[in-house]
Symmetry: C2
Subunit: 248 residues, 2 copies
DNA sequence: GCAAAAGTGTTGTCCTTACACCCATGC
DNA sequence: GCATGGGTGTAAGGACAACACTTTTGC
């Protein structure tokens, strides 16, 4: 057999193999997939989450996290990024996958599988450029019922956040660029639902060396103003590998 | 308006609302979804994973984790349980979701989204009742190339395992019912890829109080036999909440 | 001057780490 | 008796938890 014939035979065989694979995939049931984005922020000493009014009449009045269907030619994380951009105008947000939700009856319109994503951001920094469907920030603590299984998804996001914030100093994403230690501590206390000793808290963060003293102070507070700090992102990135837990 | 008419109107409105929801879902692109199960075991001081020979000719010779498509009427975790049962005959295995994989070209037969699940089990206890497609245990350390993106999925499973085993004493699932402290330590060392101080390791586990002395000893070892222990599952379940990290 | 929060150090306890020798068994 | 791994204790250092008083500002 000539080399040419060999090559041809191999190519034909590859084609055939591909066809087999394609035929197999065509036998798979197909399902609608959506992604849902749980976006946390922090404002007025309260943990908040970004919700829209569900556009489905069956959920009259109920709120929903930001979600939409996944297109056939996009990855799930790309879909999540796109949806966030479409719904809020924000496009520089890091999203983390937190899990899938696939109960058969979770969507009243039929079977829909969803994958939930989560993010933290600074409310002041990320202005909402689009506010259709009454998009706005809700206090997490006052949310009761939600559309779909979104309360479950929100709860999963909250558990993820509580865990994550103890493994990485992510809380900074939720704060303004310059913040006082009191604000930082309020944030941790709000998310973890505990109170923390002020001196030990300050010592811990001081010893991590991730705070940069801006030499500025709080203004317009009816008490002694606190120092304002910035987060040292470079140092954090460098040492990322070493972070396992913050341990409160 | 009579009460009856009201009720009727409401029912009609509900029907209409449902129809709207159904129509909406019908506009969503549909995709094939699969689940893939990364099943870890431990034998001969080696971390192992359960693989089958890919039945796709395009992956001639390459290995694959256990996966299959999700049916339209089953939840993802149910699919994972079913697949494990179908492929191995095992039906008492706890599976944890580790994430989705949705690259457009990850399957040669066309776009397929997969969600990966992970489990740990005791090789001796969970005999494979089915071994089609050359199903068997492979040393994790010697796996190079795999079918699909399964090497990535395996790596994600491994990272998940390394993290999990430091948060919960899950390692016991990988060991026989009765095991020596040396076996337990070998397991941790194999998974974490480190060496640990023997005395400190024993102290740590002794202080956790999760080990029950069986008063039995290893047999047929060419050296002083070690004590055999059992894992105290009840105590672990009771204190589950408190576990955050084991800290090596 | 008073209310309100900022800022700061020390001590005891516990946990972690590092480290070396004798013991029981099979061959 | 020798090779192999089993079994054990201690001391030093570091991290964490608990705790109270003085300082600065606005009113």
């Amino acid at each position: 057999m000539s080399k040419k014939t060999n090559t041809l035979a191999a190519a034909t065989s590859n084609q055939a193999d591909l066809l087999v694979a394609q035929t197999l995939v065509q036998t798979y049931p197909q399902l609608p997939i959506t992604v849902d984005c749980v976006i946390f922020g922090f404002e007025d000493n309260e943990l908040k989450v970004l919700l829209i009014r569900s556009d489905l009449a069956v959920f009259k009045g109920l709120w929903s996290v930001l979600g939409d269907n996944v297109q056939s030619d996009e990855k799930l994380d790309e879909a999540a990024t796109r949806i966030l951009k479409e719904r809020t105008g924000m496009d520089d947000v890091y999203l983390d996958e937190i899990g899938s939700f696939s109960e058969l009856n979770r969507h009243p319109g039929g079977r829909v599988v969803t994958v939930a994503y989560c993010s933290l951001l600074n409310i002041k920094h990320h202005q909402l450029k689009i506010t259709a469907n009454e998009l706005h920030w809700h206090k997490v603590s006052s949310i009761q019922e939600m559309a779909f299984d979104h309360k479950q998804i929100l709860d999963a996001g909250l558990r993820w956040l509580q865990k994550r914030i103890q493994e990485h100093p992510l809380g900074f994403n939720l704060l303004p660029e310059k913040f006082s230690l009191r604000e930082l501590q309020n944030l941790y206390e709000a998310i973890l639902g505990t109170t923390l000793d002020r001196r030990n808290f300050r010592k811990k963060f001081a010893s991590m060396g991730l705070l940069v003293d801006t030499k500025e102070y709080e203004q317009d507070v009816p008490h002694r103003p606190g120092k304002l700090y910035k987060f040292n992102y470079e140092k954090y990135e460098k040492n990322k590998r070493k972070w396992i837990a913050i341990d409160f």
